[in-house]
């Protein structure tokens, strides 16, 4: 029998539960696979969770909570940290009064992302302590440890997850919940919180001081442990790689690192000295191997070919054997496709027909890049469609420039497109430009989350609603049109053709709810109406 207190949880669910048990008073973030479920689950468990327009705003909100003496959590996928990097770096200087947990969910193997960046580098670059769980139990334990570390040293702490940890369900034994959260209150600390040069210089020194104290503490932390075994080969590892290693070579001596910045370098040195050969096994970039070598410890590391893609038991076996022969490719499955009947179809058809040059963005509509459409010419990061489209319009010969259109989803527009519109008004290309916003009333790609443009909260309750067309008019775009390509295909084509060539700045909002969510939206609206009626009836 399994212990009745044990639960079968995904890594994301474990983080949510731990955050709740640790008294996190507010969780915020922006959706992004594989991190999205953390806040959704936190909300289901009764935590206060909200979606922010993007990761930068989310981090700032969480930082404010932590300045007010409370415990906060902010969640995002790996590329979200790029967006949040500005406040992230300086929050290491200001520190916090309560606690701030920053969750970065990395995606080795690019299951659902635009790149494979290894965010462990952020811990080093910003100077933030970092923990790396290897399963859901550790996701739970490390979340609590990260919050304790954050509160003890008054510093934001990075919890670095990976897709495999986020989306695997393993057994978790939760601990008793901590004491009820303290009531937030403001304490003035101008020198500590206002990062003008005179205050930032000492703040940087304080940060380095904290990190060296944390390093000393980490040398004896139980978050890193040695698994006894054969001393012929010792392996230093972290994250889910540890699980693959135990699977294929349970007899080896292992140093399993959980707290991976600042590294417990003396512990590592002693471990390496105690084995005949020492190998560093890690997924992604050689972060551990480089740091350990830089400290003068002689270790072996994986061959370069294993920097790419996820590790698994088979690849770990190959690494242990020093095998660099070509890997057998696995048969490729069926790629995701646009839902049958998705209204984006009509938009792509119009692009093809008008021979558009399409600066694209990220969302379901990125699927317009693959056959049968092949109607998207660029996709870089959220919001890039507008700037990239403008750049092309600026320099291409006029007849080509007039074929350029920027296409962006509603959630992505709110996340990273608004400043692009301002740029368009401020630096208009000679041929004008067309921005097409695909407003399907949801963040479809990541599983249908709400965003400021839907006017509903994370819990699908009514709140303030951003009007895209009003916003566009107010920043000074002369031609703003709302349409539905699905109900009037020829009309949409005509509109797009006119806008491409009219020399003006145009914003088209193509509005039609995502097929998969249209029914639910009606339910939410009905629920909201009923709620208003009951309120109206109350005396």
């Amino acid at each position: 029998m399994n212990d009745p207190n044990k639960l079968l949880l995904s890594g994301d669910e474990a983080v949510a539960r731990a955050a709740l048990d640790a008294g996190v008073i507010l969780g915020t973030g922006y959706p992004g696979t594989p991190s999205t479920e953390i806040l959704e689950c936190f909300s289901q468990l009764g935590g206060r969770a909200q979606w922010a327009p993007n990761e930068k705003v989310a981090l700032e909100v969480a930082l404010g909570v932590a300045f007010a003496g409370a415990r906060a959590m902010v969640t995002m996928k790996h590329v979200g940290v790029n967006v949040a990097a500005d406040p992230l770096f300086t929050s290491a200087y200001t520190g916090v009064s309560g606690a701030l947990l920053v969750v970065s969910a990395d995606d080795p193997g690019i299951a659902s992302s635009q790149n494979e960046q290894d965010n462990r580098h952020y811990a080093v670059a910003a100077g933030l302590p970092m923990l790396e769980p290897s399963d859901s139990q550790e996701a739970y334990d490390f979340t609590r440890a990260a919050l304790e570390t954050s509160e003890r040293w008054k510093i934001p702490v990075l919890l670095r997850l990976t897709t495999r940890v986020c989306h695997s369900r393993t057994l978790v034994h939760p601990r008793a919940a901590g004491p009820a959260p303290k009531t937030p209150h403001f304490e003035r600390d101008i020198r500590g919180r206002v990062m003008i040069p005179a205050y930032a210089r000492p703040a940087h020194r304080r940060l380095r001081q904290k990190l060296s104290e944390i390093q000393v503490w980490n040398e004896t932390s139980t978050l890193n442990r040695v698994i006894d075994g054969d001393r012929k080969l010792g392996v230093i590892t972290s994250g889910v790689s540890y699980m693959h290693l135990r699977e294929v070579a349970p007899h080896l001596r292992v140093l399993k690192l959980g707290f991976t910045y600042p590294l417990p370098m003396e512990t590592i040195r002693a471990f390496a000295a105690g084995v005949e050969r020492c190998l560093v096994l890690e997924e992604g970039d050689p972060y551990l191997a480089d740091a350990i070598r830089a400290a003068g410890v002689v270790v072996e590391s994986k061959p370069e070919m294993y920097r790419f893609d996820e590790l698994d038991a088979g690849r770990v076996r190959r690494i242990l054997a020093g095998d660099t022969s070509p890997e057998t490719p696995v048969p490729s499955g069926k790629p995701p496709q646009l839902c049958v009947g998705c209204s984006y179809r009509y938009v792509f058809e119009a692009f093809r027909k008008l021979d558009c040059i399409v600066a694209g963005d990220i969302g379901c509509y990125t699927l317009g890049a693959v056959p049968p459409f092949e109607a998207i010419d660029a996709c870089v990061c959220m919001g890039a469609s507008i700037g990239v489209g403008l750049g092309m319009r600026h320099v291409l010969p006029a007849e080509e420039a007039r074929r350029v259109v920027s296409v962006i989803g509603d959630s992505t527009f709110v996340h990273g497109g608004i400043t692009g519109l301002v740029e368009m008004v401020y630096n208009p290309p000679p041929t004008g430009h067309v921005v097409l916003i695909l407003d399907n009333a949801t963040t479809a790609m990541t599983g249908h989350q709400e965003h400021p443009g839907t006017g509903r909260t994370l819990e699908h309750e009514p709140t303030g609603k951003l009007s895209i067309e009003d916003l566009a008019r107010s920043v000074g775009i002369p031609n703003v049109v709302v349409c539905d390509p699905a109900t009037d295909k020829p009309g949409f084509e005509r509109l797009l053709r006119d806008c491409l060539g009219n020399g003006q700045l145009n914003l088209i909002v193509a509005r039609r709810p995502c097929l998969l969510i249209a029914g639910k939206i009606k339910d939410y609206e009905r629920a909201a109406e009923q709620c208003c009626e009951t309120l109206a009836q109350e005396p």
Partner: protein, 158 residues
């Protein structure tokens, strides 16, 4: 309890209930007292692409992923996903194919996933009562009857 870890892969296309089927099996193993790990990649699964989920249970499980070519059981819900997943099966492993149950016999065609679990249930060492209990816990009231029928049909055809 046996030392050996049982490795199961359930595969299909987005929207076919691969993840639900996988949740049922892992919950079953969990309730039976095993160490369990279940892993899946479901980034864009609702857009009809390939989805597969690994379930491993035993006394102690390390990696959450079934090692390549080590699946004891491969359950495939979509006919066109059999060949691309076959390499996952160990020699002598059991393939549960979509054709094994005629979808026309199901009250709800979407219950093929559970029908195939009915077949799988004949191979695993869990009582029928334990399966039914988990199925009842997973599905909402209005879908339960169709899924119980599908499960029974699968068990019969095995």
């Amino acid at each position: 309890m046996s030392e050996r870890v049982t490795n199961i892969i359930i595969a299909g296309l987005g929207g076919q209930g691969v993840l639900t089927a996988s949740a049922i099996v892992s919950e079953l193993a969990f309730r039976a007292g095993f160490d369990v790990k279940q892993s899946e990649l479901h980034g864009m699964s609702q857009r009809g692409g390939s989805v597969s989920s690994d379930i491993r249970f035993g006394r102690e499980v390390f990696s959450p992923m079934v090692p390549t070519g080590a699946a004891d059981y491969l359950v495939v819900v979509a006919p066109d996903q059999v060949e691309v997943n076959r390499y996952q099966l160990r020699p002598g492993g059991v393939l549960v194919e979509p054709g094994a149950v005629d979808a026309a016999e199901l009250i709800n065609k979407k219950s093929s996933n559970v029908a195939l679990l009915g077949i799988l249930s004949r191979h695993l060492d869990f009582s029928e009562a334990a399966w039914l209990e988990v199925i009842a816990a997973v599905f909402p009231e209005k879908l339960l009857a169709a899924n119980l029928q599908a499960f029974a049909l699968g068990r019969e055809r095995a």
